[in-house]
Symmetry: C2
Amino acid sequence: MELDRTASTGLRQQIVEQVRGAVERGVLLPDDPLPSTRALAEALAVSRTTALEAYLELEGDGWVYGVHGAGTFVAHRPAAAPAPTPVVLEPDDEPELDLRAGTMDPGLVPDAWRAAWRAVSPRSFAPDPCGDPALRSGLAAYLSSARGLPCRPEEIVVCAGASEAVTVLGLALGWAGRAVAFEDPGYADMRDLVVRLGARHVPLPVDAAAPVALALEHLTARGETPAAVYLTPSHQFPLGHRLEEDDRRAVLAWARRSGSVVVEDDYDGEFRFGVPPLPSLAGLDPDAPVVYLGTLSKVLDPSLRLAYLRVPPALLPEVVHVRGLVGATVSGQVQEVVAGWLASGALSRHIARVRRVYADRRAALLRALEEVPGVVGVRGIEAGLHVVADLAPGIDAAAVVAQARERGVAVTSLDDFRSSPPGPPALLLHHGGLDPQSLREAVRRLAGCAAMGVRTSPPA
Amino acid sequence: MELDRTASTGLRQQIVEQVRGAVERGVLLPDDPLPSTRALAEALAVSRTTALEAYLELEGDGWVYGVHGAGTFVAHRPAAAPAPTPVVLEPDDEPELDLRAGTMDPGLVPDAWRAAWRAVSPRSFAPDPCGDPALRSGLAAYLSSARGLPCRPEEIVVCAGASEAVTVLGLALGWAGRAVAFEDPGYADMRDLVVRLGARHVPLPVDAAAPVALALEHLTARGETPAAVYLTPSHQFPLGHRLEEDDRRAVLAWARRSGSVVVEDDYDGEFRFGVPPLPSLAGLDPDAPVVYLGTLSKVLDPSLRLAYLRVPPALLPEVVHVRGLVGATVSGQVQEVVAGWLASGALSRHIARVRRVYADRRAALLRALEEVPGVVGVRGIEAGLHVVADLAPGIDAAAVVAQARERGVAVTSLDDFRSSPPGPPALLLHHGGLDPQSLREAVRRLAGCAAMGVRTSPPA
């Protein structure tokens, strides 16, 4: 065995690889003795610790075994299939300027959040499937204080993301074989997930101008009362408008009469711009059949994978039961860091800070869009982290998306969220991930797309 | 406003609570101005920063709003339902000596693992739903090297625990409305989960003496070929025996003929004691319809909530599709820490170290059980972190469990894992969470249970 002290591979790793190679080539056979760690260390001029750690690593992976007092020997390895050809995972082609929903700006991650992770301790037990008591208490206090939803810690069920939460909910409330209504246009991935859970999809036409409660009454009148309705009242996804308070109360009244359950997805409800707050549906009546779904992806860190349900008491036993079957999904470490941020008020202060940042970004985006001839209107500007830009009739939104991508800008066509596209041309523009200067540059490139130029061609 | 400098509540929090209280009591009304942070800081003799952070926290939670250049004002809050009566979550009554499956010893968490968390960085993007490329590559290399399962990174799908993995699998492979066979006795929670996913449960009798392949052939002969079979070949849960290599090959042959998919749950297969390794089912033929399910709960940290599937190429597209719909569930931070431990070989070295610790514990448990008259045999001693202690006929295992619990010892009756209890009396004893001395004490208390004394009563 010879070590290369100029190689980038460490000495321990070189020992591990050479022993493995010798076993694989049959140079070392099962039960062959290896030199003692002392002899190996001397022969290779490495520390005894390096030799010992190399043997431990080989033992952990089953290449050698140790016999107390006798030494280390080559292990019997089961006959394995031949190693596959390694394939390198293709990295995604990342756009230069990303205005798709779900993107965030790394610059918004505060130093205090980085520091919080340094205090995390590993654990020797799995968390409660519904979440650590400290986190559930913190989320209940946050919902009560900040979101106008008075609730108790035991009504909070922690989940690993909004879709995982809906999976648990669908299994708990028995959606398989029943109808579930989804806003149209709406959150297409969530709709596909619910269909995968066995539910039948019923489209619920949504428009800022027409009350949602009326659309629900229409379903009931047609004998199509769904088992559940998925709504985004704080900031309709993707259109961006908010459900007015009268409509909220009418939706609640319909749910109570129909026996349907409303899932209130409040994915970015923390962000309002110049409008008074509206009560959450669940907050209007905490005993109503409304399950509130919140997430920390938009306010804190989208890589956390932490969402939470507030379940009204009547539905709680079934949801807790299924959460127990699926088990805890959020690591104790993540729960500990977030519980600490909630208890210290750091999350609330962070939200206040980024709210100002997002208000500036939104203002920059709206000003820039005013200069684009193909954009005939901007909707959904009161809340959340994206707006909808309506394009002039005749513009091919899909062509704009494709041309923008060639110019390094990623945006989404509203048609991607419609259950029966195409509709009037419009783009979804998410401003959470880019600073004002980048947003202006993105809009400049968007305006330069040939497909946006329909309106500037000579009149017929 | 007055601050109590002797209180345990911090000054910032006292300001926050007093402003909230004043708003709630109607002392402060919407649009009322608050003192400037400078004036407040002077009046209360706190730092300007404390005043500023208190206002930020109130703003984040929607109690006040700031107007640039004009100051801070009381916000309009939506009419909320009254606050609920706070209920303190009841802490679980933790046993003094816990021999239930899933428990771990905090003393086994190494310092290096604690240190790994200090380097974690927050992120601004959600992980790939199937997992970070670095983690998938590390897991593929680990499975290839340590578990005899050659595979490629793109065949690895990361999940938030074994049950979450099975949820994704059940949705991807369409188990709803079809039969799924479960070992009997077996992992009852997993069986209940699969039933909740809409599958029909078919019990598969397992016994160390009878080949599993034969039991599967019986199902097929009866026209009950299941869509999937859930097996624990490395260490049958709960009986503890290993599937012999001939039986493994016969199971594979049956699966290929029947079109059924085998889920190979290798929950604690890292731990063998004095027996040669057996190839994993999936490793015998990486193209066979076998989905390998691994977890890091048993080898590292049960609070991680990190499991992984190795999916054969033919089944991969559907599993990746559903993983995409359910979304990423494991936080980027957790993935980063584990990927680092895999790449550095630290995980393999840790496994070698704890394997020795567990061997000592197992030996201590087995020696102690020899002294218990009511224990007539111990099964499943070759692998894993638990054994099954068969009790003398006539002993009421449930009564032993209850009496042991009164004496501070938590164990499980084998009947809890049978689909049609009761069977011959037996206990499941998990030795992963206790040191040798505690195991001896636990067995001493177990032996002292009146219900264990059936054999020591005068002969009839």
